[in-house]
């Protein structure tokens, strides 16, 4: 970025002056909010106690541009970033992240179920999103059972909440159209898959309230503005806990699991410390602690036996075959190639 060139010498001078003093402080960026609080409590604080490496946390909204700007101006504010699968791959391909051979550092076996390590990033969190309704509103057996029910506006006449973003929502639309969850990536990337998903989405569009943030999704369902919503598990858990509510996630309907990776920024002077933190966070105990606090399933399969029975009952667990993992070459390449044009089409679709 040519823009910042005039101020570069100052920035370098300042970072040199402060760099030596802070070499033992890792700066991490994640998405903030409740998940970040849980991460601090379950992982960062015990890590600092054990290693003496301090951790500062910044927040961002998965804007790859903010990482790119730091790399291009050679002014690293962050050492490592929490990344969604698409940004992990894009950042890796475009040289924004350090390539790290995680397999040689960490046993990959317990991570195979979620697709293993990336070329640059290591997955530390699974974030499933599914069909959520308020049990107080639909007593006993009257709640929606699958995505076809979510689409059935005769049976359920109220509004529905969906994420204002095509990835995850197109997958949900295909499940509603009868595609088995595990086949969804193939169908979506195949000929006519995107058109099919949009056609299905058009059926309920007048009934949809679109949400833009996890907080908003919970607001919609808790205030009764919608009867059912597509929402992320961690948010549901926290909403239930802090509002004493009984929101239910219908796992058998099918759900979409995003993986969240840790990646080390290209050229970070604290690469070794960053790797130490990743190794620490991916171990079974911190993974279990984090899952207990936040409610998301652990990325490390070895952490499952360490969970309390109640926590295990909350997780999709036995419904693994109903979950779409946002991982794998087919899936990631599809979204990297077509994401921009699909997002544009989606914005037009919603606005019309």
């Amino acid at each position: 970025m040519t823009l910042s060139r005039p101020i570069l010498p100052f920035v370098v001078a300042i970072s040199l002056a402060t760099g030596t003093a802070q070499s033992q402080t890792l700066t991490i960026v994640n998405q903030g909010g409740a998940p970040a609080d849980a991460q601090r409590q379950a992982v960062f604080e015990p890590f600092t106690k054990e290693t003496g490496i301090k951790i500062t946390v910044d927040t961002y909204n998965q804007e790859l541009a903010k990482i790119r700007a730091q790399i291009e101006t050679k002014n690293l504010i962050w050492d490592m970033a929490s990344l969604n699968p698409i940004n992990e791959r894009a950042g890796c391909e475009e040289g924004l992240l350090e390539k790290i051979d995680w397999k040689s550092l960490i046993d990959e076996k317990p991570f195979r179920a979620i697709g293993g390590f990336g070329e640059c990033g290591a997955p530390y969190l699974v974030s499933p999103g599914g069909l959520v309704y308020d049990a107080a509103k639909f007593p006993a057996d009257t709640g929606p059972k699958d995505w076809a029910d979510f689409w059935d506006t005769k049976k359920y006449s109220g509004k529905r909440g969906l994420l204002y973003q095509p990835d995850q929502v197109l997958e949900v639309a295909l499940m509603a159209d009868g595609v088995a969850p595990l086949d969804v990536p193939k169908v979506l990337a195949g000929p006519g898959g995107v058109d099919r998903a949009f056609r299905k989405l058009a059926e309920i569009k007048p009934f949809v309230k679109w949400w833009k943030s996890g907080d908003e999704s919970m607001q919609l369902i808790l205030t009764g503005e919608v009867d059912m919503v597509y929402a992320w598990q961690g948010r549901v858990n926290i909403a239930n806990r802090s509002n004493k509510r009984d929101l239910k996630i219908v796992w058998p309907a099918g759900y979409v699991s995003a993986l969240i990776y840790f990646g080390v920024m290209k050229g970070s002077p604290r690469k070794e410390e960053a790797i130490r933190l990743v190794k620490y966070q991916l171990a079974a105990e911190p993974q279990a602690r984090y899952a207990e606090l936040m409610g998301y399933p652990p990325a490390n399969a070895d952490a499952y036996p360490l969970l309390s029975p109640e926590k295990r009952a909350d997780l999709p667990g036995e419904y693994a075959s109903r979950g779409i993992m946002q991982a794998g070459s087919l899936y990631i390449n599809f979204w990297l190639d077509n994401g921009d044009s699909i997002r544009q089409r989606f914005a037009t679709f919603v606005a019309q």
């Binding site: 040519t2 391909e93 040289g95 089409r345 679709f349």
Partner: protein, 419 residues
């Protein structure tokens, strides 16, 4: 006769006048220099931190450095390539060499991303081709590339390499206007499902006009009352106008979400009063955006109006009334025309500010209420398509300049100034 008209030299008086003229010029020059020195910090500040960054950013909307930098040999081979046709062997050979240089560097990702803007799927094509590059001794690079992926034989896909080989590109600006180039270089509208930006500019204008009008209707009587009230009352009203003006935009926008939501104060009160039996949809839609934006921008309308109205002498109105005009007529023929500079200044200010609004619609609006600012932020931060973000920004700037010109024509430029 002025000093400048005097003949140079000659008479004694002429010499004196010359000296005087020089002295005056010198003193004027000194004054200009002093002024310049005094203003230097502000000029430098504006140039370095305002004009320069904006110019650099606007340049991104036509800059095409990436492709020239990443594919130098291909770009050099392009001139022999006829529009609408497949390129010849030299282009394919150059492409293979360029890709070979890029192999195992971040350049592959950058090139893929850049070409993917124009043709979805080009990123995958580049990655796949780089992984399977043909050997140097292959006789036909063209056949080799087509063997890797049939897409290398499609003119519609390859056209982007030819069209975007120049130093500058109109690609981003065309995209921002929902236009694209066919392989044969004809301009055409993009398909309906991809056409988004013209509607967006229309929506931005519509919301801004609505907000401006509402601000005028609500702000005009307030300003008039303030101007006519006793100093104590006027001061109180002024404080009431200024307190929200000094409050952060973010706080005010979020406050509206809390007030207007289904379980919010407004809906609860309406239901308690029995006016409605179920909550009205007031937030995350157009209503919410209009309410919040009008609230945020109202001071920008009231303050210029007030300052103009304050200067209108009551004697004008009295004179009109004493000549027999009824109060409505006094208002229409005397008061209203005198307030026009304030109306023009207030409307310009509110309109131009609301065209660029981002935070408020993002917080209180639904997907159908996002304005152009939302998409500029999206392309800057999330999609990392800085060229398109800059093109959208350039068009927005043009829009603002045009509205200023139109308004200036309508009411006169001198009236846009607040006196």
């Amino acid at each position: 006769m002025t000093i400048a008209d005097a003949a140079p030299g000659g008479t004694k008086g002429g010499i004196a006048r010359d000296a005087l003229k020089r002295a005056v010029e010198r003193s004027q020059r000194r004054q200009a220099v002093t002024m310049l020195v005094l203003m230097a910090p502000s000029i430098l500040f504006v140039a370095a931190l305002f004009v320069l960054p904006i110019a650099l950013f606007l340049f991104r909307s036509v800059d095409n450095g990436e492709i020239r930098h990443l594919l130098p040999q291909t770009v050099a081979a392009v001139p022999d390539w006829t529009a609408g046709e497949l390129p010849g062997e030299p282009v394919y050979a150059a492409l293979v060499e360029d890709l070979r240089t890029l192999k195992d560097t971040p350049g592959v990702g950058l090139l893929g991303r850049r070409l993917n803007y124009a043709v979805p799927g080009f990123r995958g094509l580049v990655t796949k081709t780089v992984r399977n590059l043909p050997a140097t001794e292959v006789p036909s690079k063209k056949d080799a590339l087509i063997a890797i992926d049939g897409k290398w034989a499609e003119p519609a896909i390859l056209a982007v390499l030819r069209q975007q080989s120049g130093r500058l590109t109109d690609f981003y600006l065309l995209t921002a206007l929902d236009l694209e180039r066919t392989p044969a270089d004809q301009l055409q509208r993009v398909s309906g499902e991809q056409a988004i930006f013209l509607d967006l500019y229309g929506r931005t204008l519509l919301i801004s006009l609505g907000v401006t009008l509402l601000c005028l209707v609500i702000g005009f009587p307030v300003a008039a009352v303030m101007a006519a009230a006793s100093p104590a009352v006027a001061n109180l009203l002024l404080i009431l106008v200024l307190v929200p003006f000094w409050t952060s935009l973010l706080v005010r926008s979020t406050a509206w979400v809390i007030l207007l939501q289904n379980e919010g104060l407004v809906n609860k009160s309406l239901m308690a009063l029995g006016l409605v039996d179920h909550p009205l949809p007031l937030v995350f839609n157009r209503t919410g955006v209009m309410v919040a934006m009008v609230h945020v921008l109202l001071p920008y309308m009231i303050l210029p109006l007030y300052s103009v109205m304050k200067g209108i002498s009551i004697n004008h109105l009295r004179a009109a009334a004493s000549l027999g005009a009824s109060p409505p007529r006094v208002f229409r023929t005397v008061y209203l025309p005198l307030t026009m500079p304030g109306v023009a200044a207030g409307c310009t200010l509110v309109f131009i500010l609301s065209v660029g609004f981002y935070v408020t619609p993002a917080l209180v609006g639904g997907p159908r209420d996002q304005m152009i600012g939302y998409f500029i932020a999206y392309f800057t931060n999330s999609a990392v398509n800085w060229g398109l973000a800059s093109a959208l920004g350039a068009l927005l700037l043009l829009l603002v300049a045009l509205s200023y010109l139109v308004l200036g024509r309508l009411v006169g430029f001198d009236r846009l100034r607040v006196r």
